[in-house]
Symmetry: C2
Subunit: 435 residues, 2 copies
């Protein structure tokens, strides 16, 4: 049996998972790869107590792995976009195929990296970069190859989904759940990347590029996090038959491509509303197949390792093949990718959930609904909540029909100027994700 030599760079949670899984399941993995996959070398600044590397050589300089003449595939698991970038470029320079789980690197430098790889007939595989163990890159790039994708919407960050699930099921505060998520290892000490939607944005860019055949670019992408969400909004959403999820949404239309990450009300009967805790799911709507959904663990040692090794198996199987026979990184030759205009958030049409505090006296609601009507926004539902004892203000919740965001912005500005309305208006976009 042929053998393929793998060098793993980075021995953190995912690196250890890859090593352990390759060891434990070597029999079925080698059978599927049609060769013996051997970890020749591990590059890591320190050992990992969760990983007994046995006889495998561990070296401290990861660049030595990337340059090792005996290594066929370099697995980049160090994260970030600086050293990781240099490492991947060094590996390609030395004729190695690359497997990576690094969404930031692919989203920000993918075009350059894939161009270098293509020029050398090498593969850069990145299944683990999006939605952890769910084989979503393969599904989109190969499984749905016959389709034009209309839109996709994904829960692609486990941390935010865990926080929202807890806020929904237990009425807890954002801050409170975040602390628990940090204790459980679901959220980083600095949770900005997750809770502000930056991590989801990286993943969305990758999915959108595959879906719409356009170059990777973060430009024009709209991002909003979950830090301002209040438990009362999650509760009101439920009352209206919706669940709040943090979605990455990409949609193609004649006006261009929508690329946006933000909290979203989705109908509680939709399949994606039932995706809880740290799970991920990507819903894809395409012209031929219709609506599909792919669900699974979005992070964690072995789920991510599962995706990394699927890539290693793909590369190992085709390692001696002509580059033409392999699936290109973004589904087609890079020269065939077409940039598309990214729509301004102001021009995007969705429904909206609005919440604000208004004086509880006759005529107030009529002023508000008049402003909405003047802005050509029709209202689907209004809830007005009894005020607590001693309070003159009530919570007003409005669900609108589909409207352009700039119209909504105009109406919000007018309503906020009313003397009978206190503070600012909270609004959340609503998607029906019709299946």
């Amino acid at each position: 049996m042929r053998s393929v030599q793998v060098g793993i760079c980075g021995l953190g949670t995912v690196g250890a998972g890859v090593f352990n899984l390759l060891t434990r399941n070597s029999q079925p993995i080698n059978a599927r790869a049609n060769c013996a996959i051997n970890v020749l070398q591990v590059g890591a600044r320190r050992d990992n107590p969760n990983c007994d590397t046995a006889d495998t050589e561990i070296i401290r300089d990861i660049f030595d792995v990337a340059k090792n003449p005996q290594v066929d595939i370099v697995v980049e698991l160090i994260g970030g976009t600086t050293v990781a970038y240099d490492l991947v470029m060094t590996a390609l320079d030395h004729g190695k195929h690359v497997v990576t789980a690094n969404k930031a690197l692919i989203a920000e430098h993918g075009m350059e990296i894939f161009a270098v790889a293509a020029s050398k007939g090498l593969v850069v595989a990145y299944e683990a970069a999006v939605a952890g163990g769910i084989p979503i890159i393969k599904a989109l790039r190969e499984g749905l190859a016959a389709n034009r994708i209309n839109w996709l919407a994904g829960i692609i960050n486990g941390t935010t989904n865990f926080i929202l699930s807890e806020m929904d099921s237990k009425g807890r505060d954002f801050e409170d759940v975040l602390v628990e998520a940090q204790q459980k290892g679901y959220a980083e000490a600095d949770p900005t990347f997750d809770v502000e939607g930056i991590d989801a944005a990286h993943k969305l860019v990758i999915l959108a590029s595959l879906a719409f055949g356009m170059p990777l670019s973060l430009e024009g992408l709209f991002t909003d996090g979950i830090t301002n969400l209040e438990p009362q909004d999650v509760a009101y959403a439920r009352e209206l038959g919706y669940v709040v999820k943090h979605l990455g949404i990409a949609r193609s239309s004649d006006q261009g491509v929508e690329l946006r990450v933000h909290p979203t009300l989705v109908p509680e009967k939709s399949l994606i509303a039932a995706v809880n805790d740290v799970s991920n799911a990507v819903m894809i709507d395409a012209d031929a197949v219709g609506t599909t959904l792919f669900y699974g663990p979005g992070a964690g040692s072995e789920p991510t390792a599962s995706a990394v090794i699927a890539d290693i198996v793909d590369v190992a199987r085709t390692i001696d093949a002509e580059a033409d026979a392999r699936v290109p990184a973004l589904g087609c030759d890079l020269s065939l990718l077409q940039p598309r205009p990214i729509m301004d958030i102001e021009d995007i049409e969705t429904s909206f959930y609005m919440r604000f505090s208004a004086l509880d006296k006759p005529g107030v609601l009529s002023d508000i609904t008049k402003i909405m009507a003047d802005s050509s926004i029709s209202i689907e539902a209004i809830i007005q909540r009894e005020h607590p004892v001693g309070e003159d203000y009530v919570n007003v919740i409005i669900l609108t029909n589909v409207t352009k965001e700039k119209l909504l912005d105009g109406a919000v500005e007018h309503i906020e100027q009313l003397e009978t309305v206190r503070g600012s208006i909270h609004f959340i976009r609503v998607e029906h994700l019709d299946q």
Copy 2:
């Protein structure tokens, strides 16, 4: 650009879908295949008014397509296991790759067909044979290649799922919904294959072979249909927090492999419980990735065509590659497949839902629970329903904990012998599909 010549055999619903979709989306499809995919010839006994084949030659003898020296890929869409078998064998004999949507053919003759194909370095691809447009074969065979699969459970027949969804949401009778399904084209004039679970059994065999690395075989598979399900059982299930789904289940354990198709109570909070109408979904639990779920349309012209063309693209891309570089039909070399003992249904452990009619007088329930206890079956819940006016009998519904089916059978026999129990006991298996 290279071009690849396709011959389509069969121009029914799926054949027309394949032709139309290849025409409509030729630009992205050719980009992804890295070659021009051209339908050279269509073999069909008659034209299809839903398919304008324009300049493409239509011939009446499909075997001429399989023998045409200019055809590279033969697409078998005629169905059945007789002529289709001869057609596929003829195509392989003439050095053609084959793409098929034929689950019965693959389940029954797959081992022979794949062996012939492998001996000639040809591909037989069959993504469309299971779960329509969902790329489940690719997910299981490639996406989850690093895993040992513990179990999988699928809604893999759209007709039965439509019927059960209607029975659940509207309390309708099986027979009543079946007539509607036939009118809508969801069910055949002779619905036996669907409602008795034979179609699902074919698909389950294929999934199980891929999941557990064992040869395709229908032997030992347990099949039960949905024809005896009553609306009251569906309603009682809801009352207990469950939904009735017709599942294909394959599970690997030290005792062997479970292969079974039957109505199943699943917790209403599980994702698969929310899969309604003609949709399909396959849930897979594996050692590394954990639980994943793949959802989408399980049938229909373009969803099935989507899967057929994904296969054509895969074949087209690797048409000049060494056979080694391609993914083997069952995920690994046929010589590495290991037969596994298929467990008798009597030896399988699940929970059970039971319904029967008992005399409404003191001591009856105590007799019944004593029989259950003597059979070492513990009870999770009992519902006893008020009898209608003038009736002496009440409906008793019991939900058991996990037990071996042969113990349940023994208890059922004893309970049916009680003078206070009327008629036979209806039981349905329960799965918790713990995620």
